[in-house]
């Protein structure tokens, strides 16, 4: 039991961080960023390159991932999404753009980083073992703690910083924010950069544990969608809750349903469908996002 909870908590922390970036972008611009998973993969590869190829400390790699992805995010917003949102008659058109960017990043990652699985050596060795009841490698504890710290940091940033407050105003009501003198373009760009950066940081964090490969992008996006559906799209607390809930469901499901083989995810999906049929806006979302 302890093991299941610990696994769920650890998974939940990283999932929450992934979902945060996605939901931030969604709440600010109503863009469902299909390329979120690819941004995560990109972050992982940047950290890998800095740490494993250049031999620099892990923290440098993490910072590099953050910076690179923030720049990519800002560029995407400034030159792509902004234009399309202005010119398009239906806002769903941004989905096509996001999918195009996902394909593009996939192609770039393949050309630049290659097709192989990559990983950096463990940053801390050893395994925490409490009487075989709870087994958790130290590096996983560290990464989990870092992820939780980041989530807390992000909440504080959104709550108390000027930028964070401006973005929250923007997310709440674009029109009103504009009237209140919030520079919508500027904060949309910052928000997008921040969302992409979060994806990159998770990639960088997890490359020490799970490694990274080209194929992780798409499935990661799908999982992130799941989380924000559970929690409610465009709501920060919802993304965090969604992340932890999915982590727990996965951990519990894999343990309880192991004997039945291939059905854990089927069960999770079925639960989700039933849940959404009852509560279409997710746990904490406003009706219709």
């Amino acid at each position: 039991m302890e093991q299941i909870l610990a696994n769920g908590l650890y998974l939940g922390a990283q999932y929450a961080l992934i979902a945060l970036g996605l939901t931030l972008i969604f709440s600010l611009m109503n863009v469902l960023n299909f390329a979120h998973g690819q941004m995560y993969v990109m972050g992982g590869f940047v950290t890998y390159t800095v740490v494993a190829q250049f031999g620099l400390p892990f923290i440098v790699g993490l910072l590099a991932s953050a910076v690179v992805l923030a720049v990519i995010g800002a560029v995407c917003e400034r030159f792509l999404f902004r234009t399309v949102i202005k010119r398009s008659k239906r806002e769903e058109s941004t989905m096509l753009l996001a999918a195009g960017i996902a394909f593009f990043l996939d192609a770039v990652i393949l050309l630049v980083f290659g097709e192989k699985q990559r990983g950096v050596p463990k940053i801390v060795d050893g395994v925490f073992n409490w009487d075989m009841r709870l087994i958790m490698p130290y590096d996983r504890i560290l990464i989990g703690a870092l992820a939780i710290a980041m989530v807390v940091g992000f909440i504080l940033f959104m709550q108390y910083s000027r930028t964070g407050r401006a973005m929250r105003a923007l997310a709440q009501d674009r029109m009103a924010a504009q009237l209140m003198g919030v520079d919508v373009d500027r904060y949309s760009m910052i928000g997008f950069a921040l969302g992409a950066m979060l994806a990159g940081i998770v990639g960088g964090l997890l490359v020490t544990i799970t490694g990274i490969n080209l194929g992780m992008g798409g499935p990661t996006s799908v999982k992130a969608f799941l989380m924000i559906m559970i929690g409610g799209a465009g709501v920060i607390s919802g993304a965090i809750a969604g992340g932890f809930i999915l982590g727990m469901m996965e951990s519990i499901g894999l343990t309880l349903l192991a004997a039945y083989g291939d059905v854990t995810y089927l069960a999770i999906f079925a639960t989700l469908l039933v849940f959404l049929a009852i509560r279409p806006q997710g746990l904490m979302g406003k009706p219709w996002g």
Partner: protein
């Protein structure tokens, strides 16, 4: 031709391959060999190692002046098609090969693609070399597919038997990804283990390929206390993580797989924890590799920047095609001739030391010779490199 001038990570390779191609481009005729497989997206690694090993070998042969088949000397051109791991695209790829007048194609890399291209290959007279294990592809009435490697239901029993005899393995557990290929391999693995009299203690646990934490997946498996943990059809990307999680959970038994792995990926992903991991490899272990294999690895590395251990196996398909054509030049545009030759075909294996032969096998598994004979090399991972555990043959 343009395919030869790949811009790999090293700028050097560009110059190298350019000079190589210019030098060799005499008035030789061209023999096109196709490749239909996945070279983009999540599973890119499988197809890319195929395509690159073919391109490396082709460039090398052309540099040597081409290949003489009958009275004509040919330069080899590789025509590659990326099917994006989509069976519908794979059909399009095979159609494209037929359109180009190609009769010999390497690929596809997965079960669904290999099954989907079968009608096209049969209608258009194409022999193809899939890296997929379903038996109906190779047993009559099917006759155009040739298995390009050792199937897991062939290597599995050999490995289990070896481990029973040398390590006293009695209980075995299986884990597989929740996808067609790995699940099929798990099922045939379980069957083989039971046939050998092993006790299968866990065979129902599966995982999503995008799993980022395998601890919850492996927990119930480890609790079933097996002596041997088989990672059925595990992709090189997942293997290190699975090994690591199993070891971190305190598992001390053996771990094995029947698919080929990459040493560097294992080293990066699992480090010391991967020591003792048993997998099926190609023919480039120091004991087996001929000078030609060593040169192949060098050339591959020069062309593409980094070698992939899976290419040890994947270089063979092209070699088989060319050597069989040499043995019967009439087969160059007639696969029926090719099929006739297959039964008696024998040629020297350039990639292995000693007097190893290239022959077609598969009689005991498929009832007809529809498999290339590559040495079944079972490796053990030790400190960043593979060491040969034992070598066997498939008939």
């Amino acid at each position: 031709m343009q395919r030869r001038t790949f811009i790999a990570t090293a700028g050097l390779s560009l110059a190298f391959s350019l000079t190589a191609s210019v030098a060799a481009w005499a008035e030789n005729a061209t023999l096109k060999i196709g490749f239909v497989g996945v070279t983009s997206g999540p599973a890119a690694a499988w197809g890319i190692s195929n395509q690159r090993s073919m391109e490396t070998r082709a460039a090398w042969l052309n540099e040597l002046g081409g290949v003489q088949i009958g009275d004509t000397t040919y330069n080899i051109e590789i025509v590659a098609f990326d099917d994006q791991k989509d069976p519908k695209r794979a059909i399009a790829g095979m159609e494209k090969m037929a359109q180009d007048g190609i009769h010999y194609v390497v690929g596809p890399n997965v079960d669904d693609g290999a099954a989907a291209v079968r009608p096209v290959a049969e209608q258009n007279g194409i022999m193809y070399f899939p890296y997929a294990f379903p038996k109906e592809l190779y047993t009559a009435p099917a006759s155009n597919a040739i298995l390009g490697m050792v199937a897991n239901y062939q290597s599995g029993p050999a490995i289990y038997k070896h481990l029973m005899e040398t390590k006293g393995v009695k209980k075995v557990a299986f884990v597989a990804a929740n996808e067609s290929d790995p699940l099929s391999q798990r099922d045939s693995g379980v069957e083989a283990a039971k046939a050998l009299g092993l006790e299968v203690v866990s065979d129902s646990v599966t995982y999503q390929v995008d799993t980022t934490d395998f601890t919850p997946v492996l927990l119930p498996v480890i609790q079933s206390a097996p002596d041997l943990l088989v990672l059925s059809g595990v992709s090189p990307a997942n293997a290190p993580q699975l090994i690591r999680s199993a070891r971190e959970l305190g598992y001390t038994g053996l771990i094995s797989t029947e698919t080929a792995q990459d040493a560097q990926v294992l080293q990066e992903g699992a480090g010391e924890l991967a020591n003792g991991f048993i997998s099926v490899g190609g023919a480039s272990t120091p004991e087996l590799a001929s000078d030609a294999m060593k040169e192949f690895v060098e050339r591959y590395t020069a062309m593409f920047g980094e070698y992939n251990d899976e290419s040890n196996t994947k270089v063979y398909a092209l070699e088989y095609i060319i050597e069989t054509l040499k043995a019967n030049p009439a087969a160059i545009d007639n696969v029926e001739e090719f099929k006739k030759t297959m039964d008696t075909f024998e040629a020297a294996n350039p990639f292995m030391v000693g007097d190893a032969k290239l022959t077609y096998v598969g009689t005991s598994s498929f009832g007809q010779k529809r498999q290339v004979s590559v040495p079944l090399v079972v490796n053990e991972f030790q400190n960043g490199a593979f060491q040969t555990l034992f070598v066997a043959k498939v008939d």
